[in-house]
């Protein structure tokens, strides 16, 4: 028993092949973590160039065709190679078996396959972006992408297509694992909210991603053969492309935010030392968001010429989907009430998430309103809105989760002072970058242009200045987390005094997670009135 604990999953085997052929979900999570970190900085570099160019109204840094390639690269890399896989493939991969008391995912080899597919897809797309780039924007709108674009559309699309199968396999693995591998006593209503949210995410991954795959395949086919599937001049229907694309890409927004909501639910309870307020509501809201999220895609098409009746229905459904999101925000806030709130770095991220997500969500309601949406379509208002959700929401939650589970993953504590500094810098840098973009949007600045009217410069300079703070803040964790790997203090098995099963095994966990399969006896967030944690299994 002792020997098993002494060699953990990191020290079990040092050979290179023990990493690249591993089927241990924890090691696959680490592989994914390294890969998406790389993509995060590639996408971030493109964003930096964009904000630099936009510091002045003239085109002085890059030509317009290069600018088109920059924002396409930023979008494609950030959406498909960072945000979609971010929490599920790293924290999810690491934590799903640990949180449910299992020895691994249901299909460990499939999990490794998922990483290889991701790596291949990412490499193909990166190759396309570096040998000449793509100028279509991340949406690959037809017929521009199929006929007129002079970028490497087919290659880029192929990369996204391959990475899509990685998503599908990860989602499938999670669904089966959560259904079939829960420890004895772990009923659905005893599952941590993180698991509920990943379950909802997985359902979307499995049902929406194939639609993207087939849409992109048709784009590539039309581009190669010149047969008009989407090009109206050749008899095709461009609206069909938009319907098919957004049937995936709107639910994909929920792929990007649901796991973040799961992380925040864990953080808020732990750092308030309280049970989650309205657990069942929060749990079912994840499912509701996933389900309703499939019925709102048309709100991306209010100006596309779709039927106005369809527009009204999509508008209504977009208001409806905000309800479960709002319920979650209220429940997190209510959890804080009369809790023993402490402000460690993960909690700072969680609180930042709640604020930023609320702004992103409320501006989403503006956009669900057809009249207002028509007014700001394709302006920076839309850009600001979805960055509040994806960056202010998802990336913040990802960083919060990364700090929270860092001791479990690495066995080391990170330096708290630096982590808090980074969290605060991210919050201010983010707001300074993106809040001015709401104003720019209202003032009428369109997205995807690199020259703009001189009177808009002050807001753009503010935004670019904020972006430089944000870039610095995102680089900071790279250094102090890297430092902690070697010199950080050793973590105990439960440094946060939290309740979940993942904290009941050593840090880092042994190869097969638990010395003995835990028997679960209570819900995931039981704390005494004094804020003492009551572990799920004891």
């Amino acid at each position: 028993m002792k020997a098993d604990v002494e060699t953990n999953y990191l020290t079990a085997d040092y050979r290179l092949r023990s990493w690249f052929l591993t089927t241990d979900h924890k090691r696959v999570a680490v592989l994914f973590f390294a890969t998406i970190t790389l993509f995060f900085f590639v996408g971030g570099a493109a964003a930096t160039m964009i904000r630099l160019e936009l510091a002045t109204p003239q085109a002085d840094l890059v030509r317009s065709d290069i600018y088109n390639r920059l924002f396409t690269m930023h979008g494609v890399v950030m959406v498909w190679f960072f945000l979609i896989p971010s929490i599920p493939t790293t924290l999810g991969n690491f934590l799903v078996p640990l949180m449910i008391g299992a020895r691994d995912l249901a299909f460990p080899r499939l999990n490794l396959t998922s990483w290889y597919l991701f790596l291949i897809g990412g490499s193909v797309t990166l190759y396309a972006l570096f040998v000449g780039g793509v100028d279509t924007g991340w949406t690959f709108y037809a017929p521009f992408s199929t006929m007129y674009s002079n970028g490497h559309v087919v290659l880029a699309v192929l990369g996204v297509f391959i990475a899509g199968f990685s998503s599908i396999l990860t989602g499938l693995n999670f669904i089966v694992t959560i259904h079939r591998l829960r420890a004895p006593g772990l009923t659905w209503y005893r599952l941590p909210i993180f698991i509920w949210s990943l379950y909802a995410t997985s359902v979307i991954l499995v049902l929406a991603t194939p639609e993207l795959a087939i849409t992109l395949a048709l784009v590539a086919l039309e581009r190669i053969t010149g047969i008009g599937i989407f090009n109206p001049r050749l008899g095709g229907d461009p609206l069909l492309f938009q319907h098919m694309f957004w049937f995936y890409s709107h639910p994909a927004v929920y792929i990007m935010i649901l796991p973040g909501m799961g992380v925040v639910s864990e953080l808020v309870t732990c750092f308030s030392r309280k049970n989650l307020f309205g657990y069942k509501f929060v749990a079912w809201c994840s499912i509701a968001i996933a389900a309703i999220g499939f019925l709102v895609w048309g709100h991306h098409m209010f100006v596309s010429g779709q039927s106005p009746f369809a527009g009204i229905v999509f508008s209504f459904m977009s208001f409806v989907v905000a309800v479960p999101s709002a319920i979650k925000v209220f429940n997190w806030t209510a959890t804080l009430h009369k809790g023993w709130v402490s402000y460690d770095a993960p909690m700072l991220y969680a609180l930042a998430f709640i604020g930023l997500f609320t702004i992103g969500g409320l501006t989403g309601l503006f956009l669900a309103c057809i009249a207002f949406d028509v007014f700001v379509t394709d302006t920076y208002f839309v850009i600001a809105h979805f960055h509040y959700i994806m960056v202010g929401g998802m990336v913040t939650a990802y960083f919060g989760g990364l700090h929270y589970w860092w001791p479990k993953i690495t066995g080391r504590l990170y330096p708290e002072y630096w982590a808090r500094a980074a969290a605060i810098l991210i919050f201010f840098g983010f707001n300074m970058t993106f809040f001015p973009q709401f104003i720019l949007g209202i003032l009428g600045m369109p997205r995807r242009y690199h020259v703009y009217a001189p009177e808009l410069q002050v807001w753009n300079v503010l935004s670019s200045a904020g972006a430089s703070i944000l870039a610095l803040a995102y680089l900071l964790p790279l250094f102090y987390l890297g430092w902690s790997l070697f010199w950080g203090r050793r973590a105990s098995s439960d440094p946060w005094h939290a309740t979940g099963l993942e904290w009941q095994t050593s840090s880092p966990p042994p190869k097969h997670n638990f010395v003995a399969t835990p028997i679960v006896e209570r819900g995931p967030y039981v704390y005494t009135v004094d804020g003492e944690a009551v572990p799920q299994n004891a």
Partner: protein, 214 residues
């Protein structure tokens, strides 16, 4: 026969089999949406180019299509039979049934290939060799484009299924499956039935339009 053991992440063989079954069902859900996207595109254009699609569909080889439908249905029957027998032993019979089903799959692919060759000869392959009466050319081109994508993807699924069935038949002959452990047979069966089901939809969509009035 060896005593079957579950993989390390499972407590029991029953749990392992349930996981495998659920995994396949989830995968099939993905597949439904995958083919569903293409069938949606087909429906949109069939609505938009009703006459062209009818004219184009009359050029499909309905005899081969019908024969292939019968072949796939028969193979599905063999697989279902094997799935029932594997739980009570009968290793050699199970192996034979699965091999038979795979063989029918190969015949299906052969007939499909012959059909493709005929279509190439009749100038019905868009972008490669296509000529059609001018009045219906645009819609017909879309029809055949979707036809080749749909049947091509389906053919790929059949080919994968054939390989899987042969591999499982081989292991069944070696006595790998029995009352306790037989999930590969039933799970592969699920997949094969799905491939069969997709074909039933394709048959109706591709071969039947425009026939009643012709």
């Amino acid at each position: 026969m060896r005593e079957a053991q579950p993989s390390f992440q499972y407590a029991t063989l029953v749990q392992q089999e349930q996981a495998a079954q659920l995994g396949m069902w989830t995968f099939l859900a993905t597949e439904v949406l995958f083919f569903g996207g293409l069938i949606l595109a087909y429906c949109v254009y069939r609505y938009g180019y009703a006459d062209d699609f009818a004219a184009a569909a009359r050029h499909t080889k309905i005899v081969i299509g019908t024969l292939n439908t019968a072949i796939l249905l028969t193979s599905s029957f063999l697989v279902a039979w094997a799935g029932a027998l594997v739980k009570v032993g009968f290793d050699r019979l199970v192996a034979g049934l699965l091999t038979g089903a795979a063989l029918l799959g190969v015949i299906f692919l052969g007939l499909k290939g012959y059909e493709y060759r005929e279509e190439y000869r009749e100038h019905l392959v868009p972008a490669v060799n296509f000529a059609f009466e001018a009045a219906h050319a645009r819609g017909a081109e879309l029809f055949f484009m979707l036809y080749f994508v749909l049947t091509g993807l389906h053919g790929l699924h059949v080919a994968i299924g054939v390989v899987v069935l042969l591999a499982i038949a081989h292991r069944a002959r070696g006595g790998a499956y029995g009352r306790q452990y037989h999930s590969p047979v039933t799970v592969a069966g699920l997949y094969w039935h799905f491939v069969d089901l997709v074909w039933i939809f394709l048959f109706a969509l591709i071969y039947l339009p425009g026939r009643s009035s012709a």
